[in-house]
Amino acid sequence: MNSTLFCQYLFAGLTYGIIYAIVAIGFNIIYNTTGIINFAQGEFVMLGGMIAISLHAHMPLLPAIVLAVLLTMAIGGLIEIFFIRWLQSPSVLRMIIITIGLSILTREAALHIWGSSVRSLPYFIGNEITSIKVFSSRVSPQVFLVVGVCSVMVAALSLFFKYSSLGREMRACAANRRAAILCGINPRNMVTLSFMLSAGIGAVAGCVMSPITYSQYDMGPSLAIKGFTVAILGGLGNSMAAVAAGLLLGIIESFSISVLPLAFQDAIATSILLLILFVRPHGLFGSSAAARLKDF
């Protein structure tokens, strides 16, 4: 393999990888505050892209994206308020089924609103054939935007959880719900906030990736499966590990094509998911002792 090919694979892998990582982080944020996996996570990505595309017909790109992200956050919050908040200590299974139902509902609603055709935002810089030369390979500037925006988002999130009081309150709920209540934190609000936050980052990812991958009403589930694989691979609940795991999966997928036919690309992710679930269910970076204390 020469250096040109190596770079092309690497950038392709980074693009996939960072998107998987963002979906996985969305899973983790909600998992941390509620202990459930929100299977409608992929739909937030779809909604972000689709709303931005609709708004872009009436306004410039940047306000359209900002407004789309805010709207998706509002939808995420409303979903939590209407479907999750009023449940009295629901079982894990029930919550999972609710989120799967929500995912189907959102998808069908999107089908009715936008139809089934493929749409996309325009390239933010240049057009479909613009590319930047990196070493000896050529990469679309949109790839750098995806990687850049997502990296900034990950960094901002980790700062938010570490230093802001709101972020700390969310972490407190995740660590010990009862103790958090005793400290005067309302865990229900934290859950709503976690849905809004993960809807928001999903929507941002949905907007920046739209020119590359297109947006379609049914893009959610396949993203959710990849994101779930990454979340498990990194260890559920650990956002930084999700970034590492996402990049790892993306790069494995893109390099696999040099030895395997392309048709096997999706099989790789599924095989990794199964392998991890059998061998290291607590993830590459998680500890098995901590995993034993979780209900799921």
Partner: protein
Amino acid sequence: MKRFVSTALAFALTLTMGVTALRAENIKVGAILAVTGGQSFLGAPEAKTLEMMVAEKNAAGGINGNKIDLLIKDSAGDPEKAISFAKQLIEEEKVFAIIGPSSSGETMKIKDIAEQGKTILLSCAAAEVIVNPVAKYVFKTPQKDSFAVQMIFKEMNKMKISKIAVVADNTGFGKAGKEQLEKIAPDFGIQILAGEVYDKAATDLSALVAKLMSDKEIQAVINWSVVPAQAIVAKNMRQAGWQVPLFQSHGFGNIKYAQAAGAAAEGIIFPAGRLLVADTLAANHPQKSLLAKYKKDYESKYQEDVSTFGGHAYDALAILVEGIRLAGPDREKVRDTIENLKGFAGTGGIFNFSPEDHNGLAIDAFEMLTVKDGKFVMYQ
């Protein structure tokens, strides 16, 4: 009371029977189309075309006074759904004929069902296996993929291209096309150096393009697909700065695919029927007036560009209507009539059916087209 119920029931039954007897004058035509889902670029224009044509026909008094009842079933491109709809249409609805399905994979799944149910099936899908071997009741309107392959290879011979890569999607159309390409290539002295299949829901194929591009011997790429992902191949190739000629199949014949690829679609060469370049045809061309009328009607009614796929549905219904007009509403007679229909001008070309050829189109149904300034034009 019991007596009253049974009388009422009997009365209700006679009433419904009366209604069915009345409706029996109408000719029921089923359609199984991928109106939604990943292949909606095929099914949606097909459904719209059928609705438009049936409304027009019925408003003009139907076929010899018989109105058409159109039952459109949305398979969403799922072969399992296509199978159950086919059974429902044949066994329960007892339709006169079925138009569709949109995709080759679905059509192959229901080919035998139509054959056993002795129901005329006019497929809007392209793969050659649909009519080869010939099944008595199964016809198809899109041009054969082997002719599309020959058109592409002829062009390559002219351009002195002999070493190529083939990429195809993993739908029935993609698989059948890849097989045809591999089978026919030696006849034209063309060598396929690499063949890859990509997922119909693929979102980024830059790694695939990088792999192909690393082989410096490849002089051109054929991208055989009928799903939106085909636009991604074009985009990723041009982004990577790979400027070899890109050939596509007749599955590229919806301007939305060219729009999805944007600037990367410029210069793509592909074979297609004349519908897409109807404006540039000579006034005395046998397809000219029909293409112009369909294009005008469709575009003014639905505010979107016509595609060859809608045209396939147009041809399917037009052929069926012609069969019924000539033979009356008798399924066997209509089948025989369609099988012997000659010189029938449709959107896909001039149809000349025979017992051996249930497609009826010759290679001259194709023109080579290209994309210029975001529009389809004749390739010179």
